[in-house]
Amino acid sequence: MVLPTNLKHVATAAEHAEVLKNHTNVMICCGRMGPMCLPVYDIMEELQDEYTHVEFRDMMFDSPEAAVIRNHPACRSFMGLPFTVYYKNGELVAATSSIQNRDQITTILDKEFGA
């Protein structure tokens, strides 16, 4: 189960682990095709050319496999879609809940992964 976006997807927990293993800097937006999630996918799609050192992916929130993000301790208090998580060297370094704008996303990308 994957989202109908133009981003590369993470479909399973195994694939999630594989992406973290193979890429130093990873941003995954875990959501649905709703109004709070679509703008984040759109911004990620645009940032792909600029942040070539970051791997941008999405994951379907309602997939049982997405428990790997939904149940992460950093997302425990989240009550708004999408859950957006940032990993460096396989470790979660930042996470946000609900819609984010371009400035909010690039601030995290620059801080955690360098400009």
Partner: protein
């Protein structure tokens, strides 16, 4: 700084801006749409559109995607998620400065910057967004299964979303600053007849409290001045929209008391060559159809201006 010259610049890629782009580009005018956010504007926030003539039912996202494709097909350039760092409305060529390094110039400018959801602007709101505070019942309703929530507002959105949230929440309390609701009668009736819904009128939330997530609120009775503290799991805010005209504050563009752009029936503003379209215009009704009508008229007026100057 690098310069790019067009016949027309449209600021804003919602229904009004995309329509203007379609009309301008189809008339062989060199046009560009610049947007600081996602193309589609508030349209993409609408889950179902069932009253757009000629289309039985579609999603706002789908309708916006089709409009975007149409504009691009006719040759309109579209740039989204930009940072607009300056605007010059006077002079023969209008200028929009993007990211402090690129200047877009054109004979005409159409302002279609739309509107945005109002926030309460009280302490704790920004920090607890997505952690108990939400602006989208359809998106986040299922996080509040069997929980107690508040809904803020008294218009159609607030009352309709409150009813829809009773599918999940054990109890929904609508808090509204006036002693009456502005919603349509049928929406008020439906909310009043729902046994899970309570009402607190003439009151407003003054503070959201919580560390990792929303834990409680403070609200004030506006008639008596009494302040209450109440533990709560979630708050959904639906208090209407405001015009996205911040970038024009302090400019010569004429705005009304609600910061909406004033214009005549041809969408002409007080500045020669500058037109307006959509929800940021001073008007009574704000629908996708009215935005599309505004965009059409603004584009035709802009084309007329280009031909005569």
């Amino acid at each position: 700084m690098e310069h790019k010259t067009f016949d027309a610049i449209v600021i804003g890629g919602g229904a009004a801006g995309l329509t203007a782009g379609i009309y301008l580009a189809r008339a062989k005018s060199k046009a560009v749409i610049l947007d600081t956010g996602t193309i589609g504007g508030q349209l993409v926030l609408t889950h179902e559109v069932a009253n757009y003539p000629g289309v039985e039912s579609t999603s706002g996202y789908q309708l916006a995607s089709t409009m975007k494709k149409q504009a691009k097909t006719f040759g309109c350039e579209i740039k989204s998620n930009l940072s607009i760092t300056g605007i010059n409305l006077g002079g023969e060529l209008k200028e929009v400065i993007v990211n402090d390094k690129l200047i877009y110039q054109a004979k005409t400018l159409i302002i279609a910057t739309g509107g945005r959801s109002r926030m309460l602007q009280v302490p704790g709101e920004s920090q607890l967004k997505g952690r108990g505070i939400s602006y989208c019942a359809t998106c986040d309703g299922d996080f509040f299964q069997d929980k107690e929530i508040f809904v803020v507002g008294g218009g159609n959105s607030a009352l309709e979303e409150a009813v829809s949230l009773t599918k999940y929440a054990s109890k929904v309390t609508i808090i509204h600053q006036f002693d009456h609701f502005q919603a349509f009668e049928h929406a008020i009736e439906e909310a009043k007849n729902n046994p899970k819904i309570d009402f607190i009128l003439e009151s407003k939330i003054t503070e959201f409290l919580g560390t990792d997530k929303l834990e409680s609120i403070r609200y004030k009775n506006l008639r008596t001045g009494e302040v209450f503290h109440r533990p709560i799991d979630g708050v959904f805010i639906f208090i209407g929209y405001e015009a996205n005209t911040d970038m024009f504050h302090g400019s010569e563009l004429k705005l009304n008391q609600w910061n909406e752009v004033e214009a005549d029936e041809l969408m002409k503003t007080n500045i020669d060559g500058v037109f307006v379209a959509g929800d940021n215009r001073a008007k009574k009704y704000r629908q996708i159809t009215t935005a599309v009508a505004d965009g059409t008229i603004a584009a035709l007026s802009a084309l007329d201006y280009i031909h005569n100057h």
